[in-house]
Amino acid sequence: MAFVNWFKRNLVVIAGLLTLAYLLLPNVIVTVFSFNKPNGRFNYEWQQFSTDAWKDPCGVAGLCGSLSLSLQIALWATLGATALGTAIAFALVRYRFRARGAINSLIFLPMAMPEVVMAASLLTLFLNMGAQLGFWTILIAHIMFCLSFVVTAVKARVMSMDPKLEQAAQDLYAGPFQTFVRVTLPIAAPGIAAGALLAFALSFDDFIITNFNAGSTVTFPMFVWGSAQRGTPVQINVVGTAMFVIAVLFVLASMAVGNRRNRRKA
C-alpha cells in the first residue's frame, strides 16, 4: 500500500522522466553507435566496439567539407538575421508608427508557415529570376526564416527594459550614441544573444528549406540525408555526439558565468 501511495504521489515525476528518456534515447543511440565498427555500408546494427571513427572524423569524402560549409552559412546567417532582427525589434517596441499591425503579421507568418511551403515558394522566385542556386540562395533563405525568431527573442527582452535607465543616462549628459552603446546595448545583450544562438541552431540544422534552394551545394544536413540513402558512415554519429556534448558544455559554461555575475551583483 505504501508503494501504491508513493507511486500515486510521484506519478507526474515518473511520467515526466519517461518523456525525458524518450527525448534523450536517440542521443544515447547516436553516441553508442559512434563507437561501432559496422559491417557494410549502414551503421544501424551493433557489431563491434571501435574508436576508429573518432580518430578520423574527416575520413569520409565530403563530410568535413559539408560541415564547414554549414558552419559558414550558419555564421553569416546568424550575423545577418541578428542585425536585421534586432533593428526591427527595437523599432517595434520603442516607437509608435503606422502599419505596426501589418509588420507584426509579416514577422509572425514565417514562423507559422510549414517549411515546405516557404521552401517551395522561394524556389519558384529563384527559378523565375534565373538565380544560380548555391551558397547565396541558401544564405538568403536562412536569413529570411531566422529573422522572425530573432525579432521575437530580442523583443521579449527589450520590452522588459526600463526606459528610465536610458533617460537617466541622458540626464547625465550622455549623447544618443553613448546611451545606446553604454546602456541600451548591454541591457539588451542577453536577448540578442538568445536570438543569435537560436538563429545559429536553426540555420545549422535546417534541411527542408536548404534541400529546395541549394542546387548541387551540399550542407551537413544534406550530406546526412544523402548518406541515409547510400549508406551512413560512423563519422556522422561522431559529429552528432560532438555537437550534443559541445552544446551541453556551452550551456553549462554560460550558466556558470551568469551565476558568478549574479553573485557579484548581490
Binding site: P26, P114, A156, I208
Partner: protein
Amino acid sequence: MSTLTEAPPPLTPPAPEPEKPPRKRGRWTPYWLLLPGILWLVVFFAAPMIYQASTSVQTGSLEEGYKVTWHFVTYWDALSEYWPQFLRSVAYAASATVLCLLLGYPLAYLIAFRAGRWRNLIMILVIAPFFTSFLIRTLAWKTILADGGPVVGALNTLHVLDVTGWLGWTSGDRVLATPLAVVCGLTYNFLPFMILPLYTSLERIDGRLHEAARDLYAKPSTVFRKVTFPLSMPGVVSGTLLTFIPATGDYVNASLLGSADTGMIGNVIQSQFLRVLDYPTAAALSFILMAAILAMVTLYIRKSGTEDLV
C-alpha cells in the same frame, strides 16, 4: 492573396507595452530601423508567395516555358490525385500533436513545479538535443525500431503489435516503414516545441492558487482540472500549433521512417518540385496546404476560445 492577409494572432501573448515611450529621437528613425529587415521579408517571403500563386495557374512545359493561363483545373487535379496524402498528413500530424501533449505535459509540469534544483539540468537536457542534427537523431530511430530489435520484441511479447496491426498502424512484425514509426518520429521531433510553451505558461501560475484550492478541500485531480489546466491553456494552444503546423508539412520523418504507403503531402510537394519538375502542380499543392492549415488554425483558435490569450 486573401490567405496571406488573414494572419492568425501571434503564438505568444503580447506583453504589455512600456508605460511611457522614451523621447522621440526623430520621426523617421523607426522606418530606418525597419527598412532592411522588412525589405528582406517582403522580397524573400511575401513576394515568393505571390510568385507561387501565379505559378500555380500557369500551363506549359519545361522546354517551352510556362505562361499564366488562369488554369485553375490544376488545383482540382492536384486535389483529386493527392487527397490521400493530404488526409494522411493531417491524421499523422494530429496524432503526433495529441501524443506530444500527453507526453509533454507531465515533463513541463515536472520542470515547473517538482524539479527543484534539478530544473536547470532538465531544461538543458530538453534543449540540447536541438543541437545534434535532427536528421541524425531521426536516423537513430531506425536502430531503435529495427526489425527484431528489443523494442519490437517487447511490443510483440506484450501483444501490442497485434492491436496496432489490427488498427492498421503497423503491419506484421514490423514497426519501421509503418504509420506508427512515422508518428513516433514526428512526436519525437516536435516534442520540445510542445514542452517549452507549456512550461512557460505553467511557470507563470501562482503556487498560492494551488494552496487555496487545496485549502478548499479540492482533490489533487480537481486542482488540476479546475485550476492548473485552465490556467495553462495559452501554453496548450501555442504548443499544439507549434507542433501541428510544422508536422503537417514535414516529409523527413515519412521518408526516413516510413514507406511508400506512408507518404505525406510534403513528400509529394518535394518530389513534384525537385524530381518531376511539374511546377504548377507543386505550387498548387503547396498553396492548398497553406490554405488548409490557416483555415484549421483559425477554426481551432476560435473553438478553444482563447483568441485574446494567444
